[in-house]
Symmetry: C2
Subunit: 474 residues, 2 copies
């Protein structure tokens, strides 16, 4: 079905092109008219979901260094070439390799119950035959560190409930335990860690994701329980008798492998060496098929650039799609891009990333110099017709482009409604049926309008002020 | 929190007891008043969810003949005794035993994809190393049987979408393929069967449940795909290239084992040998912890009877709780009860079953002689204050009590809102966090009111008319 909310605004844009320009406007009437047409074209029905579906169905899971990862690189190269992108290439990246293996769990006392769990990314294996110990439950590091000796030899269970929020703000506090819980508990001599999954669902599907060990303390095996299983364990602990759990993980690290950032361009008509980067990540976790995370983002940025490539008059600067390697388990693609393109980063006019699934776009986050705001305000006005007109100051843009901050590259993030994102994030449930093509069309419209304007305005965005060039740790 | 919607109706009932009886009413003012008090007591907060939680947490999965099944029998005996039931006993039942084993699946062409699937109950194993074949998709038996030779050696994929409905009416058409699909496809020489799970969710958790082989045709391995996986397979088939799947099941049948129907009674004050039976089933599938199916029903009937047992004046007839064995995988408990209590069935005044999870009660289904309707109409009036005042003519009452139909035992079914029931039914997701205690309180209220009135009215319900004594096949 074709959609159009803004015949009026299209007509107004066309009229303003013919008759009069708003003297306060920075965008020329022509630029504004082209941006509105791009928005309408994407909103009427784009191919973003088609690209996401193809990556999901033809490749599926694609954890860095896995066979699926190699297939994803081949798929991306073939797709960008077939869609007429210029300078299509794979820039090699060495990525860490980690394999999941067997994962089982059970409560052994005071009652027998199976537990559904999954190893945290990067976890070491349990001893052969599994790890069995009493479980101690905490919802903060303070509570655990208040009784350091009690933890020795035990399984620490971090049980922190994640809040559902449109902006995904519940994720940070919950995921903290996934990131550093095993290191913090290992430091106190714990034998292993279980966390309540960092998610907002109540499905029997645990959420994986990386943990970060501390090289100075023993690495202990760590897994996430599905939320129903975490609640079962919580109820059993509340009975007041000692609760024991056994779990077995056979996951392991393997030697580094080769992957690639895949790149394709719409070459700028006037300043081809100035770059507007549209980023998403090609890899995914292994449990699902990576539909939301991040085939959706790949679909959005490929389609936004493809639509710009079909314009009669290409924008002034080059629009570069970068499908990054290894976002999930090391950011090797992001690090390699920042390093290998260091000389070119002063000519990166902007970078934007799509990595928030299938939620409707709300607007743009931004971290750039002061001359960006009036342009963004006009972009936001154009996007308000599709409900994406908010501006959010600050942010890193996205994990893959966040490394560009130290060079001052203006960073933007496509902000999407994340209310449901963490129901599926990093689980087996991250599958294509969850994709909402209409929301991807809106996200494509927002990305295309932003990218086109950033590539077209005569004056580029000023760089991020020095005091705001802070690297975010993931 | 205490709840009360009907202070007015309580007061009215009390007044009617003191001053005047409705001349059209069949229930005496005292009976009506007691029924209203029972309703209010349960609605204010009952222990139904406590019993469900205990069975769920202390026992968990309890497939017939498994260690969990034996623990469930012990739990039920101990619980009924501790709650003061009379004549608590386990009536032995021989049950079939089937073990799940390993289950894996993958698409091997045109692309590689993992498939999440689970063996149908009773399925035979695949050949060692798995079964690999081309997949043919059908949404009806007619379509399959129109090309009988095409199916030979293939994996038949029954892909029938289930409709969500308050009354659960989408289940029948969808589950038909689980019940007889393997037999029908086996008859045509198919090598195996995959079905789209009979469920209304979109979670990556397949729905198990029994299949019925035909002794006259080869038994072929059969599994259910989760709905996202069924949709993936559907999309791959739509690409038009041959799609091949490999799946491995190591499930197997073992020798029969001993289980039991667990019984406890509130002995009637006047006619102790006349029985009002409250049924639920004690066993569950193995994937989840059987919270909705049917710890919820066990909680409802135990609590309804317990509340009746606490009345100052017990009802005229005996209220008998029967927690049936092996509802899920053979109905052996139901069949044994009907057989061993055959001599007593003429004195079964009524039987009602709770086996629809945690949905709010809507009312009562009924199949009985004509004198039941005016009494039921008064019961419905009492239950309308808690939203459970509908009457649904017909039905089998529930799988466990359905075998009593041939003896004409008046059969009633607690009708609950089943909108969400088939999101979780027979999956790993059937866990206690899905239980809504407030809805169980309402269901307990409805069951207690019905059971009390059925056990108290001077005239028992007339038997089911002969022409309505039809056995339902499950």
């Amino acid at each position: 079905m074709k959609r159009s909310v803004s015949a009026v605004s299209c007509a107004l844009a066309a009229l303003s092109t013919l008759f009069a320009a708003d003297p306060r406007a920075i965008l020329s009437p022509e630029t504004r008219g082209s941006a509105v047409r791009l928005r309408e074209q994407a909103f009427a029905g784009s191919r973003a979901a088609d690209w996401a579906r193809a990556l999901n169905d033809q490749v599926g899971p694609r954890l860095a260094g896995s066979p699926g990862d190699r297939e994803a690189v081949a798929w991306a190269l073939a797709t960008l070439k077939a869609q007429g992108f210029a300078n299509v290439r794979a820039e090699k990246v060495k990525v860490p390799v980690w394999q999941r293996g067997i994962e089982t769990g059970e409560v052994t006392a005071p009652y027998s119950q199976k537990l559904t769990l999954t190893a945290l990314g990067g976890s070491v294996a349990t001893p052969e035959g599994g790890l069995e110990a009493e479980v101690l439950e905490f919802d903060s590091y303070e509570a655990m560190e208040a009784k350091p000796t009690a933890v020795q030899g035990k399984i620490v269970f971090f049980n922190k409930k994640m809040k559902r929020a449109v902006d995904g703000s519940g994720y940070g506090p919950a995921v903290a335990f996934r990131g550093s819980g095993p290191a913090r508990a290992g430091k106190l001599g714990a034998a292993g860690v279980l966390i309540r999954s960092a998610g907002t669902d109540n499905e029997r599907l645990p959420h994986t994701g990386m943990t970060r060990y501390d090289a100075a303390v023993p690495k202990i095996p760590a897994a996430a329980l599905s939320i129903p299983d975490a609640e079962l364990l919580e109820r059993l602990i509340q009975l007041g008798k000692p609760v024991r759990v056994r779990f077995t993980l056979t996951c392991r690290a393997l030697p580094e492998a080769e992957s690639a950032n895949v790149i394709g361009e719409i070459v700028g008509r006037e300043k081809p060496d100035e770059i507007v980067l549209l980023g998403a990540h090609l890899d995914s976790w292994d449990l699902g098929t990576g539909a939301l995370d991040d085939a959706a983002g790949c679909g959005i940025v490929i389609e936004a650039a493809r639509l710009i490539g079909q314009m009669r008059v290409k924008p002034r600067r080059t629009v570069r799609v970068v499908l990054f390697a290894n976002e999930e388990s090391g950011l090797a693609g992001a690090i390699a891009y920042a390093k290998e393109h260091a000389a070119e980063l002063p000519r990166h006019a902007a970078a934007i990333e799509a990595d928030s699934g299938t939620g409707r776009p709300l607007g743009l986050a931004w971290n750039a110099g002061p001359n960006a705001l009036p342009v963004l305000t006009e972009i936001a006005e154009i996007l308000s017709d599709i409900g994406a007109g908010e501006l959010f100051p600050g942010g890193h843009g996205g994990a893959d482009i966040s490394r560009l901050v130290t060079a001052g590259v203006p960073l933007f993030g496509l902000q999407q409604d994340a209310s449901r994102y963490f129901d599926y994030h990093h689980t087996a449930n991250d599958t294509f049926d969850k994709i909402e093509p209409e929301a991807l069309d809106r996200a494509t419209a927002a990305t295309a309008v932003f990218a086109y304007v950033a590539a077209e305005t005569p004056e580029p965005f000023e760089k991020i002020p020095a005091h705001k060039r802070k690297l975010t740790q993931f």
